[in-house]
């Protein structure tokens, strides 16, 4: 019990420090961005705005103040839980993020589960029968996919299945002209299909390669040799001996991959015009929406950090060696 409290305390402290560092760094980056928020906000209408009007907007947003003062105001409100108002959506930043996050959540959750489960299975198979035909096939797939950009896979899938075959929609998270509440679950799944496949195809590759390495290591380990000497078959060694030892690092990798998943989602959502958090990030960046962009950065920091912490926690829970160190060692 005490260990868990200590674990949580340490993690919370670390998270607070991390958020502070990320906040400062991303603020510095954003304030040095060549995009002028007012110009980006007005867009083409900038021609119709007089310099005086422009100054009024800048003054109201506080863009004219020195960066340090702006940062302190922003950080002060942040501490009170106020992320500010998004300029392009005209809504509080947290509302935008939570709406977009739910849309993205299903995409990421599905892609994450598929790539984890399939990647682990493929990696285990390839590693157990190292050098066989099936291993070669899986390896070719994994190496190809690991070196293919996400957006390219997305575009190819879009061309084949949406444009030529017309099996899947070309954009959005639900049919055009409907709102999110009107769409049925099937319509939403139909729209999710290609983005999920895109992210999974790529995600599987890395998990597969990692699992394969670990499986080969386990199959050549002393305990695998001993199991074979006892008359265990290859399948028996894989299922009874190797799986546990391979699953442990795989779980860690799976949770630690949340960051990459998020990065992949930005690209996939862009290609499929899927209105999730990733797309909101791009829009905020291009539109000079500083509060929204910084909000997303901070929220995704928490997201990735939580993933890594869960990995740590599971590791301690599952590995007997870690478990016993804290408790009574006999």
């Amino acid at each position: 019990m005490f260990t868990i409290i200590k674990f949580l305390f340490l993690k919370t402290t670390r998270l607070a420090l991390l958020i502070a560092a990320v906040a400062v760094l991303s603020f510095v980056l954003v304030s040095n961005s060549p995009i002028d928020p007012v110009d980006a906000y007005a867009g083409a209408a900038i021609l119709n705005i007089s310099p005086e009007q422009r100054d009024i907007i800048a003054q109201r947003w506080g863009v004219d103040k020195p960066p340090i003062e702006r940062f302190l105001t922003w950080a002060g409100q942040l501490v009170q839980g106020d992320f500010g108002v998004s300029a392009i959506f005209n809504e509080p930043v947290l509302d935008v993020i939570s709406k977009r996050f739910i849309t993205s959540f299903w995409l990421m959750a599905l892609a994450w589960s598929f790539s984890g489960a399939l990647g682990f299975g493929l990696g285990l198979t390839a590693g157990a029968w190292e050098g066989s035909l099936i291993d070669r096939g899986i390896r070719i797939y994994a190496y190809t996919m690991a070196s293919t950009p996400t957006f390219w896979v997305g575009i190819v899938l879009l061309m084949v299945f949406s444009v030529f075959l017309s099996w899947t929609p070309t954009c959005c998270a639900w049919p055009i002209g409907m709102s999110a509440d009107q769409a049925t679950i099937w319509q939403r799944l139909h729209h999710l299909l290609l983005p999920v496949i895109t992210l999974s195809l790529i995600g599987i590759a890395k998990i597969t390669l990692h699992t394969r390495e670990k499986t080969i290591e386990a199959m050549h380990s002393d305990y695998a040799i001993f199991a074979r000497a006892q008359g265990e078959s290859t399948i028996g060694i894989v299922l009874r001996q190797a799986v546990r030892n391979v699953a442990l690092p795989a779980v860690t990798l799976q949770f630690a991959s949340l960051g990459e998943l998020f990065g992949g989602a930005v690209l996939a959502e862009q290609v499929f015009a899927y209105p999730g958090l990733g797309r909101a990030t791009v829009e905020a960046g291009i539109g000079g929406d500083v509060p929204l962009l910084l909000g997303i950065v901070l929220i995704s920091t928490v997201f990735v950090f939580t993933g890594n912490s869960v990995a740590d926690f599971i590791y301690q829970l599952v590995d007997p060696r870690m478990r016993k160190v804290a408790g009574s060692s006999s």
Binding site: D222, I225, A229, P320, S330
Partner: protein, 307 residues
């Protein structure tokens, strides 16, 4: 029980380009063990001792090539027969705790070994309990993980794992490695007990002194080759040893002068002649021409033209 004649093991590997290279690890090895007997196989590290154990279990890597004749209980030991026999008739007692799965409870692993050796599902729990009791392991040790075992305890668990079935031939790979003399003595005592119940034990070790405490006979290994088979009593310092390599090995022991007699024999890839000839003061032209066969000399066997 086991009769190995002219066993050779070589590994093929591809070097730069597609040139195939064969490395001979064990050459012309002869070995014989009777039931109730402990045969010690001694030799320097790298002499191919562990490979011998792996070959007898048929668990060498796929690029290994094995030739020669093997007989187990008077019947040829083919690859197919080995698949049936390993675990049930021939069991390995591995050298260290790393041969246990770090993430599985000790009891689970012993039980699995019992199942694989042919014990039925219902009989497994009592069989495992008896194996634990025989090696003075407390009941709760079954719930432990390998990293919680002490060195001596790990040794007993490994012995229990190998003997939980009814294997008649036990291959003990370096059973005294990393143990203090008390624990080593205990481990060797267990092997003696097993031999006294009629099992044949192959004791693979680099430690002649430890081996002589319990072994009946000793086969001396030099560069993947058996150079001498002697009774344990021959190692008494009265000049009964036959092969120059055995003598050198014996004299290298701290109690017998600690004389570092020869540089380590590293390779056995040269094809003809006695493998030890470069370090032997008796060598002549004959030694370079062909590998001597094992000859019977005063109660033992020696592979030397001049002994």
């Amino acid at each position: 029980m086991l009769d190995v004649h002219d066993l050779s093991i070589s590994f093929s590997s591809y070097t730069l380009g597609l040139k195939k290279k064969e490395v001979c690890a064990i050459r012309s090895l002869d070995l014989r063990i009777a039931p109730g007997e402990i045969m010690a196989v001694v030799g320097q590290s790298g002499a191919g001792k562990s490979l011998l154990a792996h070959a007898l279990l048929g668990i060498l890597p796929p690029n290994a090539k094995v030739s020669g004749s093997l007989f187990f209980k008077s019947r040829p030991l083919t690859a197919e027969r080995l698949t049936d026999l390993r675990g049930s008739q021939i069991a390995l007692i591995p050298q260290s705790v790393t041969y246990l799965n770090p993430l599985l409870r000790v009891g689970t692993q012993v039980a699995r070994a019992a199942r694989l050796s042919g014990v039925s599902r219902d009989e497994t729990p009592p069989v495992v309990r008896r194996a634990f009791a025989r090696y003075l392991l407390d009941k709760e040790v079954a719930d432990w993980f390998p990293f919680q075992l002490s060195g001596g305890m790990a040794r007993r668990v490994l012995t229990a794992t190998a003997t939980v079935g009814k294997a008649d031939l036990l291959l003990a790979d370096e059973p005294t490695n990393g143990l203090d003399s008390a624990a080593a003595g205990e481990a060797l005592g267990h092997l003696r007990e097993l031999a006294d119940t009629g099992k044949a034990v192959l004791l693979i070790t680099h430690d002649i002194k430890a081996a002589l405490q319990v072994a009946d006979k000793v086969t001396v290994f030099c560069a993947g080759n058996s150079v001498e088979v002697a009774a344990a009593e021959d190692f008494n310092g009265h000049g009964r040893l036959r092969h120059p390599y055995t003598k050198a090995l014996w004299n290298a022991l701290p109690a017998n002068g600690f004389r570092m007699a020869m540089p380590p024999v590293i390779t056995s890839s040269q094809n003809d002649g006695c493998l030890f000839r470069l370090y032997c003061h008796k060598q002549d032209s004959l030694c370079g021409k062909r590998l001597p066969g094992l000859r019977n000399t005063n109660g033992g066997w020696v592979r030397c033209h001049h002994a």
